[in-house]
Amino acid sequence: MNTNLDIPVRSEGEIATVFASDYLNKISGEKIERECKRQIDAGCTTLVVNFKDTEIVNSIGVSILLGVIDAASNNGTEVIFSEVNEDTEQLFEMLGLTNHVKIQE
């Protein structure tokens, strides 16, 4: 089910997948955050953020992901980051994001 024309979303049962793309690194990335929060509010138990089209993640991107993590933890939703490239994974680890999310191939 694609609920937002700009943000690709896939929803299967209680698992929702949101594709981060390159939007993430700009203020417009808040669209992704809003979409994630919508999925969380809609009651998904697992939120997957997919990074297959995300080359790098800058500080704005990290801030937006923290917003997603925070919303998920308030709702007891599990967050999974998938298809994260090696550099970005290392960054997430270093910054402590991996304390809050699972990284998946």
Binding site: I64, G67, D70, Q90, L95, G96
Partner: protein
């Protein structure tokens, strides 16, 4: 593959660079603050935080951007004077929440700050002025802020502070500009009221030429309009017209009102009025230039046969030439103690004949043009008819005469042009 440490440095320093760009180049203040907060939080992966602007007048912090602080976080918070002093004393350095307990501010907001996991606050101080405050929650890593983190936060916060300060300056500047504009407008109106009162006083002294100054002001205005001058310049010329005879205030009333041609002695007395006018007007600060000069030289003639100094051509200030034409026109078109006014056709003929002798030809052209436009309805102006009466202005043959004069003036103008080059 870069080392972890290198990568971290790159990440935080690019955030620092971005925040500098944001502050320097964003026109949208709200968006700038919003983006800056993202950059600040994202650089060190801080879970939540907010940026507030401090209003010195209300001693109030107003949040411009918040992240992760929830709906129940107060978006406005008041500071005590003692807080402000304390912040200014310690300068722009981070205050850990554990150290903040002595602040009146903290005591008031302790519960909400603790509930929201606020760990660090940083006053934004620019040029010894508290402009705002940054509030930061916990790091995603769960670690405490170390000294390197704090240095980065301080650097980024300084950018945000400068951004807020710039915004304050801009607002202050806009406010002052508006105030100045209003002040100037008030001054101008006061000045114009004064000028009109003066003009009335001058005209009162001369019962035969009642309204002379006001009419000269109006005619001068018409000439300046025809010359395509700016509104402010036109206003200046009108004022010069209103005040040109101010020197007459000191001339004996019986000389001014003499019902006969005055004798040489009386004439010498009367002829002082331009110089006296100049003396009266010079010490006054006029919003327009050349008003005193117009008074001093409004009886000069192009051919040098005028008074007081017998100036010629371009020695005469332009504004004085305008007032001279307006003045002469009014003298010819109104009844004098010893002389009835002359019919319009004669007056126009006189203007044409004296172009280049008494009057600057291009001014006669402008004046006749103004008159013609009114009579043909090309302009909505009714000034001439209002000041001189419809019958007088609409007398037969005036329009053709004006056209003829204007044609002739073209020739005269080009002759003068050839002669002077």
């Amino acid at each position: 593959m870069p080392t972890t440490q290198q990568q971290k440095l790159v990440h935080t320093f690019s955030a620092l660079a971005d925040i500098g760009q944001e502050v320097a180049h964003k026109n949208n203040f709200q968006e700038m603050i919003h983006t800056s907060l993202h950059l600040l939080l994202g650089s060190l992966a801080i879970m939540r935080g907010g940026v507030a602007r401090y209003s010195r007048f209300g001693h109030e912090l107003n949040f411009l951007a918040v992240r992760g602080l929830g709906d129940d976080f107060p978006l406005s918070a008041s500071l005590e004077m003692s807080d402000e002093r304390e912040f200014l004393n310690t300068g722009m350095s981070d205050i850990e929440i554990s150290q903040a307990k002595m602040l009146a501010f903290f005591q008031r907001y302790q519960r909400i700050l603790e509930r929201k996991n606020i760990e660090l606050i940083m006053p934004l101080i620019v040029r010894d002025e508290l402009v705002g405050m940054v509030f930061l929650g916990e790091k995603a890593s769960g670690e405490h802020f170390n000294s390197s983190d704090k240095a980065i936060i301080q650097a980024m916060a300084r950018h945000i502070g400068v951004g807020i300060h710039q915004r304050n300056l801009m607002a202050e500047l806009a406010r002052r500009a508006e105030e100045n504009r209003k002040l100037y407008e008030d001054m101008r109106m006061t000045y114009q009221d004064t000028v009109k009162a003066f003009a009335t006083a001058i005209d009162c002294k001369d019962k035969y030429t009642e309204g002379h100054s006001v009419r000269v002001g109006k005619y001068s205005e018409i000439i300046a309009q025809e010359l395509g001058w700016s509104d402010e310049e036109i206003e200046g010329v009108a004022v010069a017209g209103y005040l040109h005879d101010v020197g007459k205030l000191t001339v004996e009333r019986n000389i001014i009102n003499a019902p006969y041609r005055i004798n040489a002695k009386e004439s010498a007395e009367l002829n002082k009025h331009p110089a006296v006018g100049f003396e009266i007007l010079s010490p006054i600060h006029h919003p327009y230039t050349d008003v005193p000069l117009a008074a001093k030289y409004h009886h000069e003639r192009l051919d040098g046969r005028g008074y007081p100094d017998g100036l010629k051509d371009n020695e005469i200030p332009y504004i004085a030439k305008i007032v001279n034409l307006a003045d002469s026109f009014d003298a010819m078109t109104t009844d004098r103690p010893y002389k009835r006014r002359r019919p319009a056709n004669e007056v126009i003929e006189d203007l044409r004949r004296n172009a280049g002798k008494q009057f600057a030809p291009e001014l006669v052209t402008a004046f006749c043009n103004g008159m013609l436009k009114e009579l043909t309805g090309e302009s909505k102006n009714r000034q001439f008819r209002r000041l001189l009466g419809r019958e007088y202005m609409e007398a037969e043959g005036i329009v053709p005469l004006l056209k003829q004069a204007l044609n002739g003036m073209d020739a005269t103008s080009s002759l003068t042009f050839v002669a002077s080059h």
